[in-house]
C-alpha cells in the first residue's frame, strides 16, 4: 500500500517494541504462540499521501492503526468492520472516529491528529438502538460501532439453525447391518425356492 517503514518513535513503534513484535515494513507483526500464525498487530501508514482508504481487511487483527498526515477527505465506517481488537486509532483531524464518538471511550484532537482510544463493546450499548441477535446466537464486538451475532455453543451453520453433530457412523452402521440381516433372512425363507418366472 505504501512504501517505507514504521516511523521511528511513533505510537505504533512504541507499541510494537513494548509488545515484543516484529517490525516488517509498515506493519507490526506478532506470532501467535499456540497456532504459530502471524498476525498484524499494528499498522502505520502515516505520511503516505493516501487520498482514499478502502480496504484494510488484511490488518483486521490490528490493535493499533495510524492513518495520520494523509490527505484523506472522508473515511467510511465500513473500512473498520471486523476490527474487533482495535483499541487505538490515529486519524487526520478532519476525520471523525469510526463509529462515532459513542464507540470510543476517549476521543481527542491533538493538533493535526485525532486520537480514538478504547473501543466500546457495541453489544453493551443501551442507547436508542439495541442490538438484538436472533435465536441461538450471541452478540460479540465486531469493530467500532459494529457487532456480530455468532452462534452459541454447539449451534452452527447458516442462521445458527443446526445443533450438534449427526452421528452418521452409528446410524449407517445400524441401518446397513440390519438391512443385510433382514435381506439374508428373507432370501433364505422366501426367495430361495422361487422358480424363474
Amino acid at each position: 500500500m505504501c512504501n517505507g517503514t514504521v516511523v521511528n518513535g511513533s505510537a505504533v513503534w512504541d507499541f510494537c517494541t513494548s509488545s515484543a513484535g516484529q517490525i516488517d515494513g509498515r506493519c507490526c507483526l506478532q506470532t501467535d504462540n499456540t497456532s504459530g500464525a502471524v498476525h498484524i498487530t499494528g499498522l502505520d501508514v502515516s505520511y503516505c499521501n493516501l487520498i482514499v482508504v478502502e480496504d484494510l481487511s488484511e490488518a483486521s487483527t490490528a490493535l493499533m492503526i495510524d492513518l495520520s498526515f494523509n490527505p484523506i477527505s472522508n473515511l467510511s465506517d465500513l473500512v473498520f468492520e471486523g476490527f474487533s481488537q482495535l483499541f487505538y486509532v490515529i486519524l487526520p483531524s478532519n476525520l471523525t472516529c469510526p463509529g462515532g464518538n459513542a464507540s470510543w471511550e476517549k476521543t481527542e484532537v491533538k493538533g493535526e491528529v485525532r486520537v480514538c482510544e478504547g473501543q466500546i463493546n457495541a453489544c453493551n450499548q443501551t442507547g436508542h438502538i439495541s442490538w438484538d441477535c436472533p435465536q441461538n446466537s450471541l452478540c460479540s464486538p465486531y469493530g467500532p460501532g459494529f457487532f456480530a451475532c455468532s452462534c452459541v455453543e454447539s449451534f452452527h451453520g447458516y442462521k445458527c439453525l443446526r445443533e450438534g453433530e449427526f452421528p452418521i457412523v452409528e446410524v449407517f452402521g445400524i441401518l446397513g447391518g440390519s438391512t443385510i440381516l433382514v435381506s439374508l433372512v428373507l432370501w433364505v425363507t422366501q426367495r430361495r425356492k422361487a422358480k424363474a418366472m
Binding site: 457487532f147 450438534g164 418366472m197
Partner: protein, 492 residues
C-alpha cells in the same frame, strides 16, 4: 360368505405374512418421505432466505451466517415455491401412475418395485442432502428433481396393490386390504417422528436418513419379495381364493377313478401353460367399473389430500394453535381413516358388495364435514370430530384405492386370461392424484379469495360428486342383491 375363523387363518402361510409386511412397509417408507418433506419446509425456507430485519437496522454480520443465501428474498416467496413443488410432484406422480401401472403388468413386479424405491431414494438424497452439502441452490434443479421423484415414486403403488392382489384372493379381501391400506397413515406418523427427531442436526440429515432407509427398503424388497404365489408353486384361485377349500371338496368326493385324475391334471397343465397376457391401457380403461370409480376417487382424493396438506395450517390460522399441536392433532384424521378402512372393508366383505357401503359412508361424510367446519375452539372436541370425519372419508378412500382396484383388476370380465391389476390400479390412483393436484391449487385459491367455510363447502360438494359417480354401480349392485335375495326366498 363369512369364512370360519379357523379356515380364514389356515389359508395364509408365512409367505402371505411376508408379502403383506414387505408391501406394507414399502409404502410406509414412501409416504414417510413425503411427510418429512412437508415437515421440514420451514427449515428449508429459512435456509433459502436471508435474515429479515426492520429496514432501519443494518444487516446482521457476519454475512456468511445470516445474509448469504438469497435464493428467495423472503419466506413468503419460498413458501409459494414449496407449494408449487408439491403441485409439480402430484402432477408427475399422477402421470407416472398411468405409465407405471402399464409397466407393472408387463415386467417383473419385484424389479419395478425395487427400482422405484431405490431410484426415488437416490433422487431425494440429491434433492435435500447433496444440494446442501455443495451449497448449490437452484430453482430449476429442484423442480426437475421433484418431477423425477414423482415419476419414480409412482411405480410403487400399482406394484404393491398387485402383489397384494396376487396373494390375497377375493374372500376376506376387504378386511385384509382395509388393514393394509393403513400403510399411508403409518407412513405419515413415521415421517413426522423422523423429521422431529433428526431436524435439529439440519434438514439435510432428515433427507439423508429418509432416503437411506427407503433405499434399504428397496434392497430388502429385492431380496425378499415373492411377487406372486406362482413363484413358489402355490396357486390362488381368484374366486374361491383358498387352497384348503379345494382340499375339503376333494375329501368329500368319492374315491376318484384314475381317468378322472388324469383329466384333472391335463386341465391344470393347460391353464398353467398359458400365462396371462397384459391388458392394453385403453382396454383396461373400458373395463366395467373403472371409469366411475376413478372419477369418484378423484373427488375423494382431492378432499383427503387437501386435509393432509392443509389441516395444520387451518388449525393454526383459524384457532391460533401452535404448529406442533396442530401437527399432533392432524394425526387423529389418519387414525380415523385407518379404522374406517378396516371396518368398512370388513362390512363390505360380509355383505359381498362394496358400493352400498361406500355410498353410505360418503353421505355420512358430508354431514361430518359440515359438523367439523363448525367445530368449537376445543382440542378434544376437535380431535373427536376429526377422527369421525377421517373415518367416513378415509374409509371409502382407502377401499377404492386398494380393495376395489384389486376387485376391478381381477373381475370376471377378464376370465383370468389377462393381467390387468397394476394397470387398473394405476388408472384409478392416477386419476385420483390428478384430482388431488388440482385440489392443492383450488384450496389455496378459495381460501385466499373467500374463507375457510367456503373451502369446507367445496369439500362437501366434492364428496357429493363422488357419490354421484358411484350411483350407476350402486344401482347395479343393489339390484343384484335384491335379485339374489328373491332367488333365495323362492328356493326356500
Amino acid at each position: 360368505m363369512w369364512p370360519c375363523h379357523r379356515d380364514f387363518l389356515s389359508q395364509y402361510t408365512h409367505h402371505h405374512l411376508v408379502a403383506f409386511l414387505l408391501t406394507f412397509f414399502s409404502y410406509v417408507l414412501l409416504h414417510s418421505s413425503r411427510k418429512t418433506f412437508s415437515n421440514v419446509k420451514i427449515s428449508i425456507s429459512a435456509q433459502w432466505t436471508p435474515s429479515i430485519l426492520n429496514s432501519t437496522l443494518p444487516p446482521y454480520s457476519p454475512g456468511e451466517t445470516w445474509e448469504e443465501n438469497c435464493l428467495f428474498s423472503d419466506s413468503q416467496e419460498a413458501t409459494l415455491f414449496l407449494g408449487a413443488l408439491d403441485t409439480i410432484f402430484l402432477f408427475s406422480y399422477a402421470v407416472g401412475l398411468y405409465i407405471s401401472g402399464v409397466i407393472g403388468d408387463r415386467l417383473n413386479l419385484r424389479y419395478v418395485l425395487s427400482f422405484g424405491l431405490c431410484g426415488s431414494a437416490v433422487v431425494e438424497f440429491v434433492f435435500g442432502t447433496v444440494t446442501e452439502w455443495m451449497a448449490f441452490y437452484n430453482v430449476y434443479f429442484y423442480c426437475g428433481l421433484w418431477v423425477l421423484n414423482g415419476l419414480l415414486q409412482s411405480a410403487v403403488w400399482p406394484c404393491v396393490v398387485t402383489v397384494m392382489g396376487n396373494w390375497f384372493g377375493k374372500s376376506g379381501r376387504g378386511f385384509v386390504f382395509g388393514l393394509w391400506s393403513a400403510c399411508a397413515s403409518v407412513g405419515n406418523i413415521l415421517g413426522a417422528f423422523l423429521a422431529s427427531s433428526v431436524l435439529k442436526y439440519g434438514y439435510e440429515y432428515v433427507f439423508l436418513v429418509t432416503s437411506a432407509v427407503q433405499f434399504a427398503g428397496g434392497v430388502v424388497v429385492f431380496f425378499g419379495l415373492l411377487s406372486s404365489p406362482k413363484e413358489v408353486g402355490l396357486r390362488i384361485d381368484s374366486e374361491t381364493g383358498l387352497l384348503p377349500v379345494e382340499r375339503d371338496s376333494d375329501s368329500h368326493r368319492p374315491l376318484m377313478s384314475d381317468e378322472e385324475e388324469e383329466e384333472e391334471e391335463e386341465e391344470e397343465e393347460r391353464v398353467c401353460d398359458a400365462p396371462p397376457t397384459p391388458i392394453g391401457f385403453l382396454q383396461a380403461f373400458c373395463l366395467p367399473g373403472v371409469i366411475p370409480y376413478s372419477l369418484a376417487y378423484a373427488c375423494l382424493k382431492l378432499v383427503n389430500y387437501s386435509f393432509f396438506f392443509w389441516l395444520p395450517f387451518y388449525l393454526s390460522s383459524n384457532f391460533g394453535w401452535p404448529e406442533a399441536q396442530a401437527d399432533r392433532l392432524s394425526i387423529w384424521y389418519d387414525v380415523g381413516g385407518i379404522i374406517g378402512g378396516t371396518v368398512q372393508g370388513l362390512i363390505s366383505d360380509v355383505l359381498g358388495k362394496r358400493a352400498p357401503v361406500i355410498a353410505l359412508s360418503l353421505l355420512m361424510a358430508m354431514g361430518a364435514l359440515v359438523g367439523y367446519s363448525h367445530s368449537p375452539n376445543d382440542q378434544v372436541v376437535n380431535a373427536a370430530l376429526l377422527a369421525t370425519t377421517g373415518f367416513f372419508i378415509g374409509g371409502p378412500s382407502n377401499m377404492i384405492s386398494s380393495a376395489i382396484s384389486a376387485d376391478l383388476g381381477r373381475q370376471d370380465a377378464l376370465q383370468g386370461s389377462q393381467e390387468a391389476l397394476a394397470t387398473v390400479t394405476g388408472i384409478v390412483d392416477g386419476t385420483g392424484s390428478l384430482g388431488a393436484a388440482a385440489g392443492q391449487y383450488l384450496v389455496s385459491l378459495i381460501e385466499s379469495k373467500l374463507n375457510w367455510m367456503c373451502v369446507f363447502y367445496f369439500f362437501v360438494l366434492m364428496t357429493g360428486g363422488s357419490v354421484v359417480f358411484i350411483i350407476p354401480l350402486l344401482v347395479g349392485e343393489l339390484r343384484s342383491m335384491c335379485r339374489s335375495r328373491t332367488l333365495q326366498t323362492h328356493q326356500l
